[in-house]
């Protein structure tokens, strides 16, 4: 029995151990379809993490900006209140000594004083009752008191507070006037000593893309132009601007662009690949790919295949370096700029449907041959900014961009994309 047992084991092992059978083509088709789907899902997931990080950064940035703006307003209100009610001991009642000290330390120059009819009238200072104004502070000896000159040329002690020094029951005075003068003086001082500062802009833009095609084969240019239609595209990013002089700034940042191109149905032909096999060549303005439909017999050189409409997506990261000239008027600033951009093509893919297969096979091309991953472009834009408050600006940004080097190599055409964009964003000023 044992011999028979081993005999049957050996018989089957020796006969079936190296048994081979060709699987039906449907297995490979199914495998390709599943792998295509997985590739597509992986492609979608590829930048998911970056998108999340970008959203998180934007949210945090927005939060920080809102927080900063809020803090600034509170501080401004608080300082205003404190300058009025500080040391009075009576809420809402101004203290003469503080007001006068603020004015005296503002370094009022004679020119400004003359312009605003403000003169020093220390001699007109009325006697101040120490016990009333302050119990532990004295008016500085070189203290100046502001008065307004009346039309008759006679200096008149116009400060209501000073007048009220004799009747403090009504301590309200025209504080706004004094405050405005102090601010004007501060602005004047700032203008004399410009300090560089940074601004950050988050923006998004609608773009209309197109391209310039160069080729020794005019027919190739015509046929590509005929079948490719640019669809609305988008870009967005973050700009960081360094204001180096009052009217000059340098800008850089990170820009993400998404370009969509629709491709009309076409007939494609089989060529021999460099690897030796024969496949249908699908040509676009950004490169080409070899397609091997899962169904049907393998093609021979010269065979043709009809494809349905296809979708071509290009995505890139760009880093610009732009010089800007700044013109400011009231709440508006006008910032034309010109510079260069380094562009990194992160993906160039095509989703095409094959018409001649029974089940309308969809082929997903996620890598185009002949597409250059890096190219340079010229960029020009005009930022129109509206000042919302001292730190926040609303920014409109018409722009133009043109590739300086082609995005293709070894393709039938050399492609130089260009685009017009209209963007909008928010700018935050760090100062």
């Amino acid at each position: 029995m044992n011999e028979d047992v081993h005999h049957i084991d050996n018989l089957l092992r020796s006969t079936l151990e190296h048994y081979e059978e060709i699987p039906s083509p449907a297995v490979k088709e199914s495998l390709n379809a599943i792998l295509d789907k997985k590739d597509a899902e992986a492609y979608k997931r590829k930048y998911e993490a970056w998108k999340r990080i970008a959203i998180l950064v934007l949210i945090m940035l927005s939060g920080y900006i809102l927080y900063e703006s809020g803090t600034e307003n509170i501080n401004a209100d608080h300082s205003k209140e404190s300058s009025i009610s500080k040391n009075t001991g009576i809420p809402g009642k101004p203290q003469m000594q503080d007001t006068i000290t603020n004015i005296s330390t503002a370094a009022i120059d004679n020119k400004l004083m003359n312009k605003h009819n403000i003169i020093s009238t220390s001699t007109n200072r009325p006697p101040i009752k120490k016990n009333y104004w302050s119990t532990n502070k004295k008016v500085p000896p070189k203290l100046s008191i502001l008065t307004l000159r009346n039309k008759s040329g006679i200096d008149k002690l116009s400060h209501p507070l000073i007048n009220s020094s004799y009747k403090m029951q009504q301590p309200t005075f025209n504080y706004t006037l004094l405050k405005n003068k102090v601010i004007n003086i501060e602005q004047l001082n700032k203008g004399r000593h410009f300090k560089p500062y940074w601004m950050i802009t988050g923006w998004a833009s609608y773009e209309q893309m197109n391209y310039r095609l160069d080729s020794d084969l005019p027919n190739a240019i015509t046929s590509i132009r005929h079948r490719e239609v640019h669809e609305p595209s988008f870009s967005g990013g973050i700009f960081s601007t360094l204001q180096i002089k009052k009217q000059w700034a340098l800008q850089t940042g990170l820009v993400l662009s998404h370009t969509s191109i629709g491709i009309s149905p076409q007939k494609i032909y089989a060529f021999q690949e460099p690897a030796g096999s024969v496949a249908f060549k699908y040509i676009t303005s950004s490169g080409y790919a070899y397609i091997k439909p899962g169904t049907g017999a393998p093609p021979a050189v010269g065979d043709s295949l009809n494809t349905a409409e296809a979708k071509h997506i290009l995505e890139s990261f760009s880093v610009p370096l732009v010089v800007k000239y700044v013109l400011e008027r009231n709440k508006f600033s006008f910032r034309p700029g010109i510079g260069i951009e380094a562009n990194l093509m992160t993906s160039a893919n095509v989703e095409v449907e094959i018409e001649e297969t029974p089940s309308k096979e969809v082929v997903f091309i996620n890598k185009l041959n002949g597409a250059k991953p890096f190219y340079w472009s010229l960029t020009a834009d005009v930022e129109l900014q509206y000042r919302v408050n001292n730190k926040m600006f609303l920014t409109f940004r018409p722009s133009f961009k043109h590739a300086l080097s082609p995005i293709t190599e070894d393709n039938v055409v050399e492609t130089f994309p260009y685009s017009f964009g209209l963007g909008m964003g928010m700018t935050y000023k760090f100062r």
Binding site: D9, H18, E21
Partner: protein, 192 residues
């Protein structure tokens, strides 16, 4: 790239590298290279070609997914083969109804005398005999005879006792012998 693939032929190394990079051309070449052999493996665990192709498809998907985990410690073909066997076991695990230990003599199997019909049956016919075995017998027989597993390993793999494994293998052999005898009879009758 796997830790040590220097012992593999250059073509295999390139294929593995290409597949790890997700290159579809390399994946296609890998499939073309190994699919026929692996279908032969899958056929021994399945009832028919359709089921075998289902296992093959699942197996290659796993190969492409986990190829980066191939350490290069054994042959690449052996690694793929192991994945195919695991896929087959996974497919049939829920369907396997393994018989408890039985005494062959009590069961009344007549063990044949000398069997010498190897020259009369081709591989396809023998494969059909294996495929005609009940699923539990077929899996244990294939694991023992073709993959070289011991009863202890089979028992651990399938979650059964060693005794059940031995018993089922004996049953499978008996059924195969019986089928072979019937085949022999038919051939002899046709010869007359």
């Amino acid at each position: 790239m796997p830790e040590n693939t220097s012992h593999l032929p250059v073509t295999e190394q390139l294929l593995i590298k290409g597949c790890i990079a997700g290159n579809r051309a390399f994946q296609s070449k890998l499939y073309d290279l190994y699919a026929p052999k692996m279908l032969g493996v899958c056929m021994r665990y399945s009832r028919n070609k359709q089921e075998a192709e289902e296992i093959l498809l699942e197996g290659f998907l796993r190969v492409f997914t986990y190829i980066k985990k191939y350490r290069g410690s054994g042959s690449f073909e052996g690694w793929i083969r192991k994945i195919m066997v695991n896929c087959a076991l996974f497919k049939y695990r829920s369907k396997v109804h393994l018989h408890p230990v039985i005494d062959l003599k009590i069961a009344g199997y007549e063990v044949a005398g000398e069997i010498d019909i190897a020259s009369n049956l081709d591989a396809k016919e023998l494969l059909i005999l294996v495929q005609s075995l009940p699923v539990g017998y077929r899996i244990i027989f294939s694991l023992f005879v073709f993959e070289g597993y011991k009863h202890r390993e089979i028992a651990k793999l399938l979650g059964i006792s060693e005794g059940t494994s031995k018993s089922n293998l004996a049953d499978a052999r008996a059924l195969l012998q019986k089928s072979l005898m019937i085949k022999e009879q038919l051939i002899a009758n046709n010869g007359l």
